[in-house]
């Protein structure tokens, strides 16, 4: 499989507190990567480093063979990497339509309209709410909108930070089940998702990366084996932390 995103020996810190220690991982075309680990393992920090919100201390991020470590978030987004924040990922004071326009900030008017219609075809529940203030929607609808916003720019790589965070079980299931359809419809080449709802996410993933205390401790290409042997995961969660 062709490699899309290559992370090489990344270190990252908040002030003096080092969170990531020499993280290396690859995301290839067609992969659905589930990034798991206990709280504080550095999952969100890793995604923030990949998108450029947090500069790495050491190491490099390569996208399609090009070193993008020094690129701004804006450049990375333009190149096709999109990031869904865990919470507060919409602008509540703006309408749904304005939020979508914000997602497609770099697009021309015609492209924006075309892309908006495409996104709305996949997220039909947003259609009647275009003029509604985003802050007035339910948690599930907000997450759907946040996902729609990052789909506005034709991304090749999606970095999703707990898309089911704070959602009721039904809404969480819907959002994760929708991912495959989205990936196909929008020709997203790779998705890397942080998710604590393993029951749902393991069914979706084709690859698992386990992060503990800022280090990669396991990479598995057979998530199914984890479904059958959940104690394997528990071992990492409870014994190594």
């Amino acid at each position: 499989m062709e490699m899309l995103l290559q992370i090489e020996g990344i270190d990252a810190s908040y002030g003096k507190r080092q969170i990531l220690h020499e993280i290396s991982m690859n995301l290839s075309r067609g992969e659905k990567v589930l990034l798991i680990g206990p709280n504080g393992a550095g999952k969100t920090t890793l995604l923030k480093t990949v998108i450029g919100l947090l500069p790495p201390g050491n190491g490099a991020v390569n996208y399609l063979g090009e070193d993008i470590t020094g690129d701004s978030v804006r450049t990375r987004v333009r190149k096709g990497i999109s990031y869904l924040l865990q919470t507060e990922n919409i602008v509540p004071g703006l309408t749904v339509e304005e939020n979508l326009a914000l997602g497609g900030y770099f697009l021309s008017k015609q492209e924006l309209e075309k892309r908006k219609n495409m996104v709305l075809d996949s997220m039909e529940f947003l259609k009647p709410k275009l003029k509604t203030r985003a802050g007035l929607m339910s948690g599930g609808e907000r997450q759907g909108l946040a996902l729609s916003m990052i789909l506005m720019r034709n991304p090749k790589v999606l970095l999703l930070d707990e898309p089911s965070a704070g959602l009721a079980p039904k809404a969480a299931k819907e959002i994760i089940e929708r991912l495959d359809k989205i990936q196909a419809a929008f020709q997203v080449e790779t998705v890397c998702m942080v998710e604590h709802n393993l029951k749902l996410a393991l069914k979706w993933a084709t690859k698992i990366i386990l992060l503990v205390q800022g280090r990669v401790v396991l990479v598995s290409d057979s998530p199914k084996s984890f479904i059958q042997q959940p104690e394997e995961l528990e071992k990492y969660f409870f014994e190594q932390v």
Partner: protein, 289 residues
Amino acid sequence: MNYILHLLIMIGIYMILSYGLNLVVGFGGLLSLCHAVFYGIGAYACTLLMMKCGLPFLPAILLTILITGICALIVGFPALRFRGDSFVIVTLGFQMIVFTVLYNWVDLTRGPYGIPGIPRPVIAGYEFTTLPEYLIIVWTFLILIAVVLFIIYKSPFGLALKALRDNEMAAEGLGKSPVHLFLYAFVISGMTASVAGGLYATYVTYIDPTSFTLDESIFLLTVLLVGGTGNRIGPFVGTVFMILLPEALRFLGMPDAVAANARQMIYGLTLILLMFFRPQGIAGKYMVR
């Protein structure tokens, strides 16, 4: 009649100032306390370009816009690394520095003595001297600036500013660069204030640093807080209210000394009542925090 024309001219000048400031405060959500600085730089730059360099009004005002834009860029670049209280304090510091420079650089600005005898604008050989003529020139500039600003308010740039105001992290995650976007807003805002400065200087034909103090910056912010921010109507309402309020007090027949203090007290009381009953301003959408 002249009195009404004068009020309309001052409303026009202050509307230019408040619409420009609205981009930073109402759309960007940044509380700037140095808007009077750009107003002052505009007034002095335009005056000096006309009087010392002998430039006609229009080239002078164009150069003034450029000079003030560069000043705003120099200030904004470090200031916009900060948010919230820290940003307010940085802008306050800049306000104090520029006032001190204007007051003490006597060779250039004549310091506290001010610059008298500023020539009236001459455009295409026609000198604008009477109040009705001046009203036309001020409101023409106001309309031009308002049209440009309204386009900016509605543009993707305006939308991105609102997004940064409401949720900076989300906007940044979508690829919006806060420093760049805020800097553009800050520079545009400063440039519009400089036009107001040039118009004011050539209208009153005398300027001194006391017209561009911290009090003036606070007054401009008050105009926005009273009228409301983040939309097109708020700055208009705020300017009309704040300019006409002290004028209304004139008709109460109070002695001048009392009226001046009463004006300050009424401003203060208005702000307190607004914070209680309508924190987003009379016609505002966004509540400045």
